[in-house]
Structures are given as C-alpha cells and as structure tokens.
Symmetry: D3
Subunit: 248 residues, 6 copies
C-alpha cells in the first residue's frame, strides 16, 4: 500500500520527522511517501496561510496521485481537506480529523494542545468543521517564542507536558491530542507525565488512512464527495488543471 504524506508546509525536515513516525505504525507492506510543499510558508498557523497551503496541497495531490492508495494531508487544521476529498479517487485523511476521531474513542471530551498561540482561531474552525465542538474540552496553546519549528518539540517538551496536564486537571479533558506536524513523535516521550491518554496525530492519521485503504472503500459516485463534473480553468498548475478538468 502506498500512502502519500502530503505536507502543505515548506519545511522538509518536518516532513521527514512525520514520515519517520508514520513508519513506526504503518504495516510492513505500507510505503509512506513524504511530500513537502514547493511554495508557501514554513509552517501554517493562520487561515490565510491555510487557504494558500490548501491550494498548494491540491497541486501536490494532482502531481502525485498515480499509484497512491490513500492520502494524508499532514498539517493539523487539515488545509484543503474537503477539496482534496472531492478530487481524490482514494481516501484522504487530515491530521486533525484523525487525531480527534481517535481521541473520541478514549474520551467523552478531548483537548488539543499545541505550541503557538497563533494557531487558536484556525484550530477552532477546524474542530467546528468536523462537528466535534461538543466533544472538545479546550484548546490549550503554549504562548512563548521558540527558536525553530524543527526543534520546537524539544524546546517545549516540558511545557507541552505541563500544558497537557492542565488540560486534564483544569479543563476536564479525558484525552489530549498533540497537535501540529512539528510535534510528531512527542506523545510517546511525555505520555507518562500526563494523567490521560495522549494521541500523536501523525501516528493516528497514518493508521486511519491505512484503515480506509484496507477496508477497500469505493470512491463515492454520489453525495458530498463524489468527483465534481469537469470544469475548464485558466492559470492553474497543469496537473491540477487536468484534474479539475476531468482527467482520471
């Protein structure tokens, strides 16, 4: 099985880190294909950046679709998820979606914990998009400058563990999703310091994408995620123009 790990951020080292985590939970026969956005921002944290990143994700999908069995849109906040799900002939899963749905099986209400205050508005809209606001205990964000997106999980390890604990003790969260590509792999390291289950969103998304492919679900021919009718376009990246234009 071939899983596209499609990172709409431009930081290749974060993509690699995610791929490494993905491979620890993927089945033996699963190939994880890491892809990094060719343009955009180093890490998406606002709706404007997600708007652009989601559009770039569509181009990445169009260019790498051949042979894929499932796709992970590998930024918490799930930029372009609905759009990708429409166009892709195979299942698509978002980091936020997979992390939250997995947390639902461990909790009545879960929290989302991440490393930057700027992420708040976008993450909240993402929770609402998935209809999971009633299951959300809180979004807790570390609000402190960090050195680099590539090392933020090391810099903030203690702070994130503490914040996750506060989500449990003060917000009543029964489980905590560690959110954001740059935190991939951190959950396992701090799990013993937090009194409720932690979910690593990259590991969760890898398993969920693999599950959908393994279940053999067919592409919808009707409803919300059927393939839209072909549409002419101008000025789009060629592969995306072809896909929007009806190419198989």
């Amino acid at each position: 099985m071939r899983l596209l790990l499609l990172n709409p951020n431009t930081t290749a080292s974060v993509t690699e880190r995610m791929a490494a985590v993905a491979r620890t939970v993927a089945a033996a026969g699963t190939e994880v294909v890491p892809l990094t956005a060719p343009r955009g921002v180093p890490y998406i944290s606002t709706r404007a950046e997600a708007q652009v990143g989601g559009a770039v994700a569509l181009e990445m999908l169009a260019e790498n679709l051949a042979g894929a069995d499932a796709v992970i849109v590998a930024a918490f906040g799930d930029p372009g998820l609905g759009a990708l799900r429409e166009l892709a002939p195979v299942p698509v899963v978002g980091l936020a979606e997979a992390g939250m749905l997995t947390a639902c099986m461990l909790s009545r209400r879960f929290a989302i914990v991440s490393f930057a205050r700027a992420l708040g508005p976008w993450y909240r809209e993402c929770v609402e998009y998935h209809g999971l606001a009633p299951r959300l205990a809180a979004i807790r964000l570390v609000d402190r400058p960090f050195g680099s997106i590539e090392t933020v999980q090391d810099e903030f390890e203690a702070l994130i563990a503490e914040t996750a604990e506060q989500a449990a003790t003060e917000d009543g969260a029964d489980a905590v999703v560690l959110a954001g590509a740059p935190l991939a792999g951190l959950a396992e390291r701090i799990a013993d310091r937090v009194p409720v289950p932690l979910v690593d969103c990259v590991a969760a998304a890898t398993r969920q994408a693999e599950t959908l492919a393994l279940l053999g679900v067919r592409k919808a021919r009707l409803g919300n995620f059927r393939r839209p009718d072909p549409k002419p376009s101008s000025g789009l990246a060629p592969a995306l123009a072809d896909l929007v234009g009806g190419a198989a």
Copy 2:
C-alpha cells in the same frame, strides 16, 4: 468610500453585472471597484475550486488594498473569507454571509436557492461555517443544464422563481436568498412571483460592507481577526508575500 468588489471567478461579465447591482444600492459617495480573478475557473461551484479561488482572492486583496474602505468577496460560499478578514485592515463581507444575515431579519428560517446542483455541498459547508444551520430551511438547486454562466439568470428566470416558491411552500422558508454571483439582480424581477421576501446577495453585501465602513469599526488588535504575526514565505505572489510578511 471605496468598496472592492472582489470576484474570485474569472468571468468578467459577471463581475460587471454585480457591480451594476451594487451601484443601485450604494450611497452616492460610494465607489464600487470591480475586480475579476486573473486565474481560476469561470464560476466556482466546488470546494476544490473555492480552495483555489480563495487563495487567488488573497492575491487580489493584496494587490488592490490601497485606499479601500471595505471589501466584498463576491462569490456565494465566501471563498477565503476568514483568511481575507484576518489580513485586511478594513472590513470584509461575503456574499453568502451578507445574504444570510440580511435574511435573518426577515425570517425565522430562510432558504438558499441557486442554479446548479453542484453547488450544494459547498453552500452547506458555508452555512455551517457561519453557524446558521439552525436558521436554514433548505438549499434548493435547479438541476438542469444551462447555456452560459452569463445568461443563466435569464434562462432560468421562471425556474428560479418556481424553486423559490417551493422553498416557501414545501420547506417552510420565510425568506429566500438568491445565491450566486450570476443571479445578481434577479431578485427584483421575480419578487412578485414568490410569496416570501427575496434577498439579492450582491445588493445585501454592498449595503453590509458599506455599513461596516460607515460605522467606523476599527481593525481588531486581538482575537480571531487580529492581523497575524508576519511570516516568511516562498513562491507566493509578491504582493501577497508582502502582506503575509507583515507589510502595512
């Protein structure tokens, strides 16, 4: 006052039609500035197209911001609305948002009526984004091929009137929003054939954008729509890169 009428579709004649409607309700001193997307699709009807269109809208905003007092994102479905509202120093209003909020003052529950079945999933997500699902009676869409997006309102005049009437009689809608840029100006022509109030979303958006500017509301310095911190980027359109990068 200078209102940007920012059409994320590529069909200039539809932009012109909207501008004409906008000018019928704008105040004497209001200048309506029509802008058409330089790339994308002739008319957005899916989430994939809206993802791209919203990203293009951000570029259009960045390039035309100087001197603007308010911005209308002139496609029902409001592509990029949250992103635009974050980045713009002046108020931004969506066609769907303005149409629906205006309809709220005429109804307990309103319907959305438009000209193509393909619009359904995207419009529904838009209603949910605005938290207005409890006020929605139905989305009713004509499901029939049309000749051209430029003439669809003439081709479908009778059908749209009939569909709006069904929304009132069968779905219990107390008001109907005629949705979609290509229907601008139709409401007035068919109003007498429909037993509940009709809202023209372009006229509504023009007035709402003008209202926000007239009220003199300040740009948020806190919360959901504060200006995000500057972010480096690569490969974006220059003006957008500047705006995301923190340019005034």
Copy 3:
C-alpha cells in the same frame, strides 16, 4: 424613506439621543421619526417590563404606521419584535438583532456589554431567541448604581470601555456590541480604548432597517411573518384593535 424609531421606553431624551445617532448614519433622503412610549417604564430591564413594553410598541406601531418604510424597535432585547414583524407591512428590525448580526460580520464570537446587572436574564433570552447563542462569547454588565438613565453613558464611560476590553481579553470576544438605548453614540467615543471592533446598536439598526427598505423586500404572504388573519378583540387601543382586526 421614512424610518420609525420606536422607543418602547418612556424616556423621551433617550429617544432623542438615539435619533441623533441614527441621523449620523442614515442616508440623505432618510427621515428618522422618533417615537417615545406613552406609558410603561423609563427603561426596560426585565422580562416583565419587556412584556408590557412590547405590547405598548404594538400600539405605537398601529398608530404611526402610515407612510413608514421600515421600523426600528429601539430597545435592546427587542421587545415585541416577532409580534411587530407579523403585523407590520414593512420591515422591522430590533436593536439587539441588528447589533448582533452586524457583529457577526466582524467576529466568530461577540460579546454584549451594558450598564446594569438587571439586564442579564432578558438579554440572554433575546440572544437565544435569535439563535445566536453559539456566536455569543459573553454578556458583561457593569454592576454599580448610576445617577440617571439619561447620563449613564457619561457616568460609566470608563467602566464600559474597561468592561468591553475584559470581554475581549478574558472572554475571547472578537467584537463587542454596546447594548441598550442609553448607550447610543458611546461606541465611537471609546473605540480606541478597546482592542476589538465595537458596534453601536442604534447605528447598526438604522442601517439595517434602511437596507431592508432599500432592497425593496415584499411583505411575506406565507410563513412565519405573513400577516395573521383578522381577529376580533376587546379592550385594545383602537388603532391596535383595527390592525389586529385586519385593517390595512
């Protein structure tokens, strides 16, 4: 255009203050007609007072309907709004409704700030009536005695600014509606002290009523706000009895 500014409170000086604010945003050709309740309480702050005030508003409507193009029920809490909207042949807008819907275009969640603790239960029911509870961040009320309803906005200027700021910083409000007829005009004075946009509900309602009239919406002949069938009555004010009885 002729806008009735129908104040269901008995304090004429507050009506005058509202009319002055309304005139600053109304179009050149719009005549604002201030009307003060002939009986009731100086300012409505409870549901019992609103029940009576709403009934008086119906009498005021019946007596002043001739020639009106739109009606503002000029007390936050919108006493009698549904009843007025049923009976009036022209659009009716409430101060709370207009203020909140306008705030929706500036926020994901807005706060309501006002000058007396007693207003809380009534305002909350009003928010729920409009289905806007999911968009409400908080209702924050100054809880301190004031000298006079006519001067409360001057007495409390600093307190209201501070309370609005707390709504932004502590409740996560992205915008604040200054609520209550006695606060008309205050928003502009304190806007620079508050980190999120402020909405003056009288200015908002004036524009919204004018917008509905300008859009030329027809009176519903079906649904929630169609004119009810004529009903005999006894003991009502003559003009209201006529209106309930089916007079044009």
Copy 4:
C-alpha cells in the same frame, strides 16, 4: 392550596372548561380559581396576540396574587411566562411547558397537535424558548375552518385523533401533547384511538403547579427569576404598577 388558573384569552366558557378538567386531577384540598382576561382576543393564536395577552396576564396576576400558592398561565404558548415567573412570589407554570415536560417522561420525541394552522409560528417559538426543540418530533395542526372556539374540540374530535395518529406513524412521535386551552379534556376521549400516549396540557399543568407548591420551593433570591428591583412606571394598571414598583 389555591391555584390560579389564569386564562389570558377572553372566552370565559373556555376558562370554565379548563377549570373543570383541572378539578378532576387536583388534590382534594386544592382550590382551582379560574380567571378570564378582561380584554384581548377570544383565543390567542399569534405572537402579536400573545404579546398583548401576556401583558394582560401580568395585570391579572397582580390583581389576584393574594393567597395564591401557584399560578397556571392557561394558554398553550405560555404568554408572559418569564415575566410572570419573575414577578410572582409563588411558582408559575405554563400549559405548553407543563404539557411538554410531562410528555418528555413518556417519549424520546413528542408531537404537538392542535386545531388551527395559525398557531404554528407561535408554538414553535414556545418550544424553542423552553429549549425542547431537540425533543420535538413535529407540530401538526388541523387546517380547516371551525365554527366556534367553544365547540372546536367536538367539531374536530375525529380530525384531532387522526392528526395525533399521523404524528405517531409519520413523524415518529412517541407521545402527543394536545395543545391549546380549547382542547382541554379531549385527550381522555380519544386516547384509545391513538397508538402513543396523549397528554392533556391542562391536566398536566394543574398537577405540575400543585407539585411545585407541594414541594415547598422558595422564591429565588438570585438568578433568572429573582424578583426584579422596584421600578417606577406610568400608565400601567394600578395593581401591576404596584407590583413592578416593588409591592409585596
């Protein structure tokens, strides 16, 4: 115990019919005191009529409070309920409220069945006011002219039974509330013809009011239904002015 059966409609014979039903379920020691509105409409069916009827109900309360242990506002739709509950030192229960809460103990979702289409918008707002929309299966209304409000339950007996049955078979209602003062006493007569439990709202309200009095609940000194602070007024009915003004 002394229960005020406060009918905000002006039809005395309907009040008498309700009193007769109330007496069949009231305890031996309970005195049911029927009161008919001195002005208003023969039967309230719209929000405008309820606005006025609720204000009249406040006057009736103020004039008849002495010695009462609990109050029933005896019109489905509960005109003035919140206002009455604020001002009254004893429990107040509405016909709709009591009928619906009683139905909750017999169903997951209940229907409301009544005798006139005009009642729809008002009843729906009433259900929403009580936060019971998620428990509502449907409102079904006979839509046919009737001879007289006093005899409508006889005229429509078969039709109401049929409508209640449709609510069970077509809308999935597990219980049906027969709504409206004029239908008092009908439930028992048609119960065997309907496949789900029927609730007589007058019998339910009588028991619920008696229950609150019997439980000895104290008047709130805090929160939503504490007695509001005294307020001066002008032009109100003397007893109501006294009550609003702070009279015990």
Copy 5:
C-alpha cells in the same frame, strides 16, 4: 394507586428513607411500595455499577409488576430507565429525570449537587441522555470522604448547602437539584440557606410518577417505548425471561 419505588442499590435503609419522603408528598390513596436490589452495590456511582444495577432493576420490575400503576427507578442517574420504560406496561420515571424536569419549571438553567466526586461522569451522561445539557448550569460535587451512605446527608448537611449556594452564585444556576437517593429529604432542611429553589428528587419523582398514572396515559403501541416483540433468552432471572419472552 400503587407506586413501585424500585431502588437498584442494595442498601435497604436508604430505600426506607426514600419511601418516607415519597409518602409525605403522595396522595392519600397512593401506596408507596419500597423495593431494594437483592444484589449489586450499596450505592451506584459509576457507569459500570449502573450497568449492573439497571439489569437488576429489570429483574425487580419483572418480579413486582403485578398491580403496579407506576414505577420510580430510585437512583439518580436513572439506571435502566429506557429499558424499564420499554418493558413496563405502566409509566416509569427516574429520579434524575423527574428532578431535572421539575427544576426546568423553576429555572432557565439548573445545577445538580451531590455528595461524591465519583458520580460526575455518570451524572453528566444522564443529563445528556435526557437532552437537558443546554439547561444544565453545573454539576457540583462534594469531594471529601464520608462515614456511611446512610448518614452522609447528616454528615454533609452544611457542605451541601454551601455547595448549592456556590452553584447559584458562581455557576448561575437558578435552581438546584439535590441528587442521589442518600440525600432524600435534605432539601427541605437546607432550603432557607440557599438563594434559589431546591428540588428533592425523590419528592419530585413521586409526584411525577403519580401524575403520569393519574393522567391515565396508555402504554405506547408504537414508537420508542412500545413493548418490544417477544425474544427467547437463556440464563436470565425467570421473571425477566418471561417478560422479555412476551409474558403480559
């Protein structure tokens, strides 16, 4: 009338205390029949205990159904309520359900106050089951060891009063339900110390069960609570096997 007071806990003295309270509000002709679970736990406080207790309650119902007019499942949390309501030919009411619905007539939002932290998750699920989460201000639980379930209401009298007061002053509860069989009868003793109405859930349930019986409601023949079709079983208590198997 014969009311089964079916306690799914194994502590007979608590059953007796509840029966005593029930008799203070039951009508003269009402016989209260106390029944204590023959197996299970002394007092249910978790979902696992409620799962077992609810199954035992079904056995108790099956064995004691003859001659009953209504049934009270006498543990807050209502273990087995839906199951009991399906199988019983007569009305069934839960302590939580009756307490909360009664509180709805005294409040916009009520609180639940009880004596042990362990009860929180179960009680919250119970509130959600009844669709009453929007009416819930808070669940407040004393978190301190107590000597015995039989005397906890005496041990904690002052603490419970204080906790109820905090629910009013800090959580905005307009009424408080004292939750749990072991607190039966406490409300009356502490009512004067709490600024909002208190509801004794045993007294409320007694009256509500009696009300449903008195209203003469018929067993549903359709919908959620119709009697299920007979089903063979193995290993169940004989009376329950008979009831599940279709015995009258």
Copy 6:
C-alpha cells in the same frame, strides 16, 4: 497483540463470523479472541436486552482480561461501552462507535443500515450517546421477517444493498455503515451496488482497537475513564466482583 472480540449476544456462529472478518484486516501479529455471551439473548435489539447484555459483557471482560491488549464490544449499539471503558485497563472500542467514526472520514453525513425495525430506538440512542447525531443522515432498517440471525445477511443481501442505495439517494448520506454483528462481511459483497462508500463495522472496529493498542495509549488516571475507586458488592459474578472491588 491480543484483541478480545467480546460478543454480548449468545449466538456463537455470529461470533465466529465476526472473528473471520476481523482476521482479514488484523495485522499478522494480532490474535483475535472470540468470546460469546454465556447468557442473554441470541441477538440484542432493544434497550432492555442491551442493558442485560452490557452487564454480561462486564462479566466476560472480567473473566478474560488477562493478557488482552484491546477489547471490541461486538454488538452495534455498544452495550456497556462506557462501563467497560471505565473498568478495563486497556482500550475498548464499540462496533457502532468504530463504524461511525470511520464513516466520518468518508462523509459529511453517514447513514446506518440494518436488518430489523426493532433496532431503531436503541441505535438512535447510541448515535446520540456518541454525540454524532449532527453527522447522521438517517437510520434505515429493513422491515421484514427473516429466517435466522445466522443467515439474515444472505437472505437480505439484495434488500440491504437497496436500502443502502436509498440512504444515499433519498437521505443524502455520503457513506453507509452496515450495522449489526450479523451483517459482518457483507459490505465487501455489495459495495459495487451502492453509490457511496460502505463501512463494515466489524472490520472498522478491529482496526480501531488495534490502532489504539498500537498507539500505546495509557489508561487514564483522571477524568471520565479513570478506574473507579474499589466498591464492595454482593451477588455479582466472582470475577466482576473482584474487578469492581479493585482487583488489578
């Protein structure tokens, strides 16, 4: 890894069928341990049966916990899920929960399709328990007698395919969950006849349970699913009494 497939129904052949499906998607190293209820009913379809079945499931858990890495409660409707999740030191997943959450990644709204009308009320409560009612398009149930629970999926193959198709075309479901242990394995056979993705709830639950175990989530020490404090009991099955009593 060792997965308990805990069937609270008494039909061993259905357990075997589920185990066979589970093994097709489980990883090479995963051992699926099928367990059939020693008492109860052949297939649970009502809340009463689920109440008993859930209690039996607790006994089965207590007796088979040693060495397990995760648990599947293998009846759609998830009898005893919350109770099991409290007591088990390892993750527990329900068939309904897993099926629905998996469907969420394929749809905006999903449908549940099954083989007997009697299942409706129980399934609906299950959807609500998981907070997924807003994501539910419909529950569609074949309403026709079948020969045997062991062969119902063969008997009804065409009918189920047709019903699933109706859920897509008439209810707007974007995905369909085939519900109920007896339908395990059917999805793959009929997938090509249904225009939207189908989810096999046994396959989904197997993967979800395996995922939670693989993610290495720790047992909650706080919140909703922490292990309850030990409690004495009487008359329970010995292993369950030990588990409730605090045994490791």
